[in-house]
């Protein structure tokens, strides 16, 4: 048996005349944290909700733990925990009641008390859902996704609405859950989250996967090269820097010269400046990161033309 836990191939889903997902394929391996990254409306929620058996695909193949999400829905739901992007609970239900209730739905649930402690909800155990803060609701929603001790957890925007501390705690929790053998499919907008948490990422644009790889691989694939910026201590003569091989673009931003180009331009630029009797103050050299890669991969045609 190969170690694919989620397998999606040529998935399609249309709402009226909106093509939400078109020809999307991906594979998630056992025990990994797999990120789905994409802009608003890219089709991430549609994809994960099809995987979780909540929506019906128009066409394509989906297999989760060897099960068909629609045909084997009942068995699938015992082994897959879902955190939905926007769903609420009964307004007057308390945190404790919600966790106990959901625990009763599964054959071998986690201990609600331990789970509350894990997610920092113990002090809110007796608080009604409609009196929880946004971040507390989010944590409860994560807890409910995990209370059945699933083999696969699908988290749609896990950390939206969480403060920076809570976000880090949520990341720690996800790592721990993964370490206990759970496979995690994570939808996110946050580059930092994807970079720190995910073993592999699929970037989705316009309903299809445009790149897959580790965060480092994706970052390295960005064509942006290097970004060199500095404040010259005098006027730079016309044409001095344009002629240097490897320099692709020069712009002036609030007194700073910003040069984009290949890595080897750096040495030549500094030599040319020295030759003109100039110094480069506050020099910065930046490598492209996942965010650059993401922006590049998900740019719309209009933005490319601009």
């Amino acid at each position: 048996m190969d170690d694919s836990v989620i397998e999606v191939s040529h998935l399609r889903k249309t709402y009226g005349d909106t093509q939400a997902v078109r020809d999307l394929s991906l594979q998630v391996h056992r025990g990994e944290i797999f990120g789905l990254l994409g802009r608003n409306g890219a089709g991430k929620t549609t994809t994960v909700e099809i995987i979780g058996g909540l929506r019906r695909p128009d066409s394509g193949q989906v297999t989760v733990l060897g099960l068909d999400p629609i045909r084997d829905g009942a068995r699938l739901r015992e082994q897959v925990g879902l955190q939905l992007q926007d769903s609420q609970l009964q307004p007057r239900i308390t945190v404790r009641e919600a966790l106990d209730l959901y625990a009763s739905f599964y054959p071998e649930p986690a201990d609600p008390t331990a789970l509350m402690a894990e997610l920092g909800l113990t002090a809110k155990a007796g608080t009604r859902f409609d009196r929880l803060s946004g971040g507390q609701r989010q944590r409860l929603s994560v807890a409910l996704a995990l209370v059945g001790r699933p083999q696969v957890a699908i988290l749609d925007e896990l950390t939206t609405g969480l403060d920076p501390h809570a976000r880090r705690e949520a990341w720690d929790l996800v790592r721990q859950v993964r370490a206990s053998g759970v496979t995690i499919l994570l939808v996110t907008h946050l580059m930092e989250e994807a970079e720190r948490l995910c073993d592999r990422i699929a970037v989705i644009a316009d309903g299809t996967v445009v790149a897959t790889g580790t965060p480092a691989e994706l970052a390295a694939s960005a064509r942006t090269g290097r970004i060199l910026s500095f404040v010259p201590d005098g006027p730079v003569p016309d044409g001095l820097l344009d002629a240097i091989p490897g320099v692709q673009a020069i712009s002036l931003l609030e007194g700073r010269l910003v040069l984009r180009g290949a890595n080897q331009m750096v040495q030549d630029v500094l030599v040319a400046l020295a030759g003109a009797g100039l110094h480069a103050d506050d020099l910065r050299l930046e490598a492209p990161n996942l965010e650059d890669a993401f922006l590049e991969l998900t740019r719309t045609e209009k933005e490319v033309a601009a």
């Binding site: 939905l84 307004p91 009763s104 649930p109 331990a114």
Partner: protein
């Protein structure tokens, strides 16, 4: 990580901590608690019918007059006895047309039902739990009203208790069917409350809560025969006072149930 982790999945061989109650029972228990957590809901559903009956019985000068002096049978019961079936209709209408549809529509609007469809327990179980809790509430409200009526108000016992019970059960079916239809199609809590309340006040009118039916003009009495809670009041009154068996109104109630329940089942949206 080790198997000690609370979320470790079942393959790590952790045994269950406590025997989990069956999901439907757990849902019923939670929904019952939520019902009781809202003072407005339980006051109007559980207490108000009995309170209304007591107030009228103790303070209205007409309470001990004959219910309808012009009718040979209805003239034999007191007005407050005649008002008891009306209060039972009120209890049915309150449960089935106000709380229940608004709650269900709210659950749909907020995604509570959708969230459940991501678990092994189907959202229809939550609907079932809501119906159970509301039926229990109805039994408490009805029991309380009848208890108060017999202990405090000297209301005479029904001449044909079985007929009254049959009418009450059929009325509950018809009203829950109507409420379910509202719950099935109302997109929001607001819509469900609006439609439910309209049906509620119309029902109260025909059930005789404002004016007992014998006091109303003949055409209104005729229409009331076909309105679920109007038919309910008439059937229960017939059983209480010992009129001939109310076949027509019971058939009307059964017909309402047979139309609304399957229709609601067909139209119900889970998300």
């Amino acid at each position: 990580m080790t198997a000690q982790h609370p979320i470790a999945h079942p393959s790590t061989g952790r045994r269950r901590l406590a025997p989990a109650p069956r999901p439907l029972l757990a849902l019923i228990r939670v929904e019952a608690r939520l019902f009781l957590r809202d003072p407005g809901t339980w006051f109007f559903t559980l207490v108000f019918p009995a309170l209304l009956l007591t107030t009228l019985g103790l303070f209205m000068p007409w309470a001990d007059d004959p219910y309808d002096a012009t009718d040979p049978v209805l003239g034999t019961i007191t007005a407050i006895t005649g008002y008891t079936p009306i209060v039972l209709s009120l209890a049915v209408a309150t449960v089935a047309l106000t709380g229940y549809p608004a709650t269900m529509a709210g659950y749909r609007q907020r995604g509570v039902l959708r969230r459940l469809s991501a678990t092994p327990v189907a959202p229809s179980r939550l609907l079932a739990a809501q119906v159970v809790v509301n039926v229990l509430a109805l039994l408490v409200a009805g029991g309380l009203a009848i208890g108060v009526a017999t202990v405090v108000l000297d209301v005479s016992a029904p001449a044909q208790p079985v007929t009254v019970l049959l009418a009450f059960v059929l009325a509950a079916f018809a009203a829950f069917g109507l409420g379910s239809l509202v719950a099935a199609v109302a997109p929001t809590t607001g819509a469900a409350t609006g439609v439910g309340m309209t049906l509620y006040f119309v029902s109260l009118f025909f059930a005789g809560v404002w004016f007992p039916l014998p006091l109303m003009p003949e055409p209104v009495q005729q229409i009331a025969t076909y309105v679920p809670l109007g038919a309910a009041t008439q059937a229960m009154t017939a059983g209480w006072a010992g009129q001939p068996f109310p076949t027509q109104t019971l058939v009307v109630l059964a017909a309402w149930s047979l139309v609304t329940v399957p229709l609601a089942g067909r139209l119900f949206r889970w998300s």
